[in-house]
């Protein structure tokens, strides 16, 4: 992989990790469409991905630094006391509840699923599926809005009728956490399924995004940290990869800020339509071998 390619992949990973459009799908499809020759089986590719993920996790930690301090403090207080009394304590336990199923499924199944489906055709197909999933989540949300007779209100008022992340049930947190396993399929977005799950559980769009980003942080961070020893293997161009990781972190930070602002009144539909179009065009280009 050349240095410009590494920088491009860093930018792509950072920008698409938090948007509900599947970073894995894009990182499988786009290099193939560009006829890039680097192999994902190359021994230096895993360290590269590790650094990109650490860049993304770092960006999320910076974005939510104050909340993470409260969450960590709340976690220890609630764990020792055996009782939840504050919102940060509840959020900490919700995140633990959501992270456990994702961790179990990730450790036991991630590598097998990824290796089974690591083809640009499959990724393009799942990207289309991801688009329909996002549109489906919004369809369910619109029904909930109609049931609550919110049709005549402005979008901002509609959003305020739904809950904050701390109000979600523990069962819903576990289900949303388990849904992250769907993102092992290239083309299915982790943030897409978790934001969608949050919407179905009755959260506001912005709160569903916040819960999704908070839930993603320990998973991405842990997945990166366990692979850190591979960074020091011989032949890894660490300087170039660190530059790509920094770019990935900056892109992730910017995309998270954009999404949180967008979801004050925005919906998932544009991303759903994008995924359907991008998946269909990619399938066409791959079939025509352009």
């Amino acid at each position: 992989m050349t240095f410009p390619q590494a920088l491009f992949m860093g930018l792509l990973q950072g920008a698409t990790e938090l948007f509900p459009v599947s970073s894995l799908g894009h990182s499988v499809i786009i290099p193939t469409l560009l006829h890039w020759q680097f192999k994902q089986s190359d021994p230096t590719f895993v360290p590269f991905l590790v650094l990109l993920h650490l860049g993304t996790a770092g960006a999320l930690l910076v974005l939510y630094r104050e909340q993470w301090v409260e969450i960590i403090r709340g976690f220890f207080t609630a764990a020792v006391r055996g009782r939840i009394t504050t919102q940060p304590e509840r959020l900490a336990m919700l995140l633990l509840t959501g992270t456990i199923p994702a961790g179990i499924l990730g450790v036991f199944f991630e590598n097998r699923i990824k290796s089974l489906f690591a083809s640009p055709y499959v990724a393009a197909g799942f990207l289309v599926v991801n688009g329909f999933l996002l549109l489906g989540f919004e369809l369910l949300r619109r029904r909930a809005e109609r049931r609550a007779s919110l049709d005549s209100r402005s979008r901002a008022e509609q959003e305020q009728s739904f809950a904050a992340a701390e109000r979600i049930s523990f069962r819903a947190a576990a289900v949303i956490g388990a849904c992250q396993a769907l993102a092992f399929l290239p083309g299915i977005s982790r943030s897409g399924v978790t934001i969608g799950g949050g919407l179905v559980a009755g959260l506001r769009h912005q709160e569903a995004a916040r819960f999704s980003f908070l839930l993603a942080t320990p998973v991405i961070l842990a997945a990166g940290l366990v692979e850190v020893p591979q960074l020091f293997a011989t032949g890894v161009p660490l300087g170039e990869y660190v530059a790509a990781a920094l770019l990935s972190g900056i892109a992730a930070y910017a995309s998270a800020r954009f999404l949180l602002r967008h979801f004050r009144s925005g919906r998932l539909d544009p991303y759903g339509w994008y995924c359907i179009a991008a998946g269909a065009v990619s399938l066409l280009l791959l079939t025509l071998r352009m």
């Binding site: 764990a79 020792v80 055996g82 009782r83 633990l96 456990i100 961790g103 179990i104 450790v107 036991f108 590598n111 097998r112 842990a222 366990v226």
Partner: protein, 66 residues
């Protein structure tokens, strides 16, 4: 009833610690990507986390005096 659940969760935590140790030592080879690896650190970390989570759940489940 709640105390009984707490005891069950503590026993579960101990079982998770044992499984974590067995994975780390490479004795347990269930659902691992490389059966020849000396240590299965990721699996060990997962079960250690599950043990901690079980202990927290046990603390939540036990009868509170105050």
């Amino acid at each position: 009833m709640r105390d009984r659940l707490a005891v069950v969760l503590v026993i579960l935590a101990v079982a998770f610690v044992v499984i974590a140790g067995l994975y780390y030592e490479g004795v347990l080879q269930i659902a691992v990507s490389d059966p020849h690896a000396a240590h299965h650190t990721t699996h060990a970390i997962l079960f250690a986390v599950l043990a901690v989570a079980s202990l927290i759940a046990a603390n939540f489940a036990r009868e509170k005096t105050v």
